[in-house]
């Protein structure tokens, strides 16, 4: 596609449920990032993929968070046993071959945990 897409755009879930958030990067972009943005806050780095491997998982807040990327393209961020503090906008970005080239952001998934 022309840009980074994310789905769903909004997700409301109950505390304790698992959720999966999907990111489709720009075709050909090998680097993919997940960020979390709480209301009025900055961009909190979660995880970075180069191809299918994740050289930096340092931002994942707990072991309830995991992410994978298959085929060097689509990525899924999974949050298990969601908590209310997980409520935020989850942004995905992709960039071309070098890790810190221009990042193109998707529209985000707004997650609300009741």
């Amino acid at each position: 596609g022309a840009g980074v897409s994310q789905s769903p755009s909004n997700k409301v879930t109950e505390k304790g449920k698992d959720v999966e958030l999907r990111c489709d990067p720009i075709s050909g972009h090998t680097a993919l990032y997940w960020y979390r943005q709480s209301l009025g806050q900055g961009l909190e780095f979660l995880i970075y993929f180069q191809g299918n491997s994740a050289p930096d998982k340092s931002g994942l807040p707990s072991d309830r968070f995991s992410a994978e990327r298959t085929g060097g393209s689509v990525s899924t961020l999974t949050i298990q046993r969601t908590q209310q503090e997980d409520s935020a906008v989850y942004l995905c970005a992709s960039s071309s071959d070098r890790g810190a080239d221009t990042q193109y952001f998707g529209p985000g998934t707004r997650l609300t945990v009741l």
Binding site: G42, L43, P55, L91, A100, Q103, F105, G106
Partner: protein
């Protein structure tokens, strides 16, 4: 490793100038600037590489002082469309080569008519 942005917020009247600063405690390879409007995703503005290179984008320009490990974003004759939150992203200078960006907490810019 997170860069520090200042000020946290600024309110201007249309036509006024603003400067947003971004400082790092680590040696930098590059600095990236993004703008995020309310309810939208961040949008890329510019990249500055080490060497004090200055770049411009419309009436928005930036400088990068490698020695001081800081960058400044200059907005001149601000327009209403400049309103939003500005983020700097820093890329650390490490032996293995450049890697991820780490973003600051953002500077909220409000332009009033």
């Amino acid at each position: 490793q997170q860069p520090v942005q200042s000020p946290q917020a600024v309110i201007l009247r249309e036509g006024e100038d603003a400067v947003i600063n971004c400082s790092s405690s680590k040696a930098l390879y590059s600095v990236h600037w993004y703008r995020q409007k309310h309810g939208e995703a961040p949008v890329f503005l510019m990249i500055l590489l080490k060497g004090g290179e200055q770049k411009g984008h419309e009436k928005i320009s930036a400088s990068f002082n490698e020695k001081k490990q800081q960058s400044s974003l200059y907005l001149t004759a601000s327009q209403l469309s400049y309103s939003g939150t500005y983020f700097c992203g820093t890329e650390l200078l490490i032996i293995q080569g450049a890697q991820k960006l780490v973003f600051g907490q953002g500077t909220r810019l409000t332009i009033n008519p």
